[in-house]
Amino acid sequence: MSGLQNLLVPAVLFFALGFLARIIRSDLRFPPDLAKILSIYLLVSIGIHGGYELAKADLGTALNAIFWAMVLGLTLPVIGYTLMRATGKVDALNASAIAAHYGSVSAGTFLTAIAYLQSAGVEYDSYPVIMLAIMESPAIVIGILLAAWARRQARSAAEPAQDPGARFGVSKLLHEAFTNGSVVLLLGSMAIAAIATPASLETVKPFVDDIFMGVLCLFLLEMGMEAARRIADFRRVGAVLVAFGIIMPLIGGTIGALVGAFPLGFDVGGTMLVAVLAASASYIAVPPAMRIAVPEANPSFYLTLSLGVTFPFNVVIGIPLYHAAAELLVAG
């Protein structure tokens, strides 16, 4: 496996640098808005790039990809929830909130995987980009339903308490899930790339393409610091959850690779990207939704898992693994 060699891409190395900087207690710090700005740029760029590619895509395959994105987004949280509850160490509301993160996706992990593929010279299908956009939201709905169910069970046991979800109503929750800022940015940019006249689209190409990898490096530098910053919270989170943060992406990655290889029939690169989508945990769209809809859950649990455990695991270990799995399933 030439995976380790392929980790020597600037994106991954900058992630490691950020991580290292915090470990050696450097005072390196980004101004608070920089990561937010970089993240907006990355979502817009990937959206435009994806929209451009998908305008040339096959409608049948695209719809199939969307269907399977929904399936993954809806089933992975249920698997995650069941797993956590089976340990007996995680209460139902925290399990609901955490599970939702694993049904959704991490754009940062996805982009790192693309950098990895480019560096390895591996071609990849463009459909996973649309799956990225689609998978942001459905898991949120499942997370909310799991939490509502957990509250109802607790209520039948105890006195009839308030249900924050109840007030919201299902339509409001669906609204929250699908108008999430990152979803709007991604889908909006895709739509714009599809609608805009080709000549005018050409004018934004340098912004969207040329500086993309450099911006990704800066973003991952900050994400490396963010991951390391969370290490102090490991204690708070506990060994069971940390283990979950490593096992769940392996389960998701396996399922994703199978989906990419068989029902979708993607190439090695595309299959690996579906595995990455399934394996990654959201740190943009899901946390705010859970804060509002499942306020009883402790944010430090899901943020630590998503940013401090699963993200670095996927970037450093997961991606080469999912690549190997994709090679096995597709080429093998």
Binding site: A35, D233, P287, P288, R291, P299
Partner: protein, 101 residues
């Protein structure tokens, strides 16, 4: 110079994600205005490094009269009961009253 009025300053410290929800909940209680500042911090629910939207904190400042404060605090108390993580502090202030127009 007009003389100072006694008012209350309510400061809510919470996650940026809850800003719109809180302001929408408080609006019906007749809040005349508010001021919001962003920051970072740490507390029982871990680090809020301020780097991503999801881990940025805010301070919401609301100047109001005592009777209005009572009603607003009841609303905030209800939110806290539901599990929302926020700190609500009240300070006594004197304020130069708005120019009568």
């Amino acid at each position: 110079m007009r003389s100072l009025e006694q008012k209350k300053l309510l400061t809510i410290i919470t996650s940026k994600q809850l800003e719109e929800m809180i302001l929408k909940k408080l609006a019906p209680h007749g809040i005349g205005g508010y001021t919001v500042v962003s920051g970072h911090g740490a507390g029982a629910s871990g680090i809020q490094s301020g780097m991503l939207d999801i881990d940025t904190n805010i301070l919401i400042y609301i100047i109001l009269s005592e009777p209005r404060l009572e009603r607003v605090l009841v609303e905030i108390d209800r939110m806290m009961d539901k599990g929302y993580r926020l700190k609500a502090l009240v300070t006594d202030i004197s304020i130069l009253p708005r120019k009568p127009s």
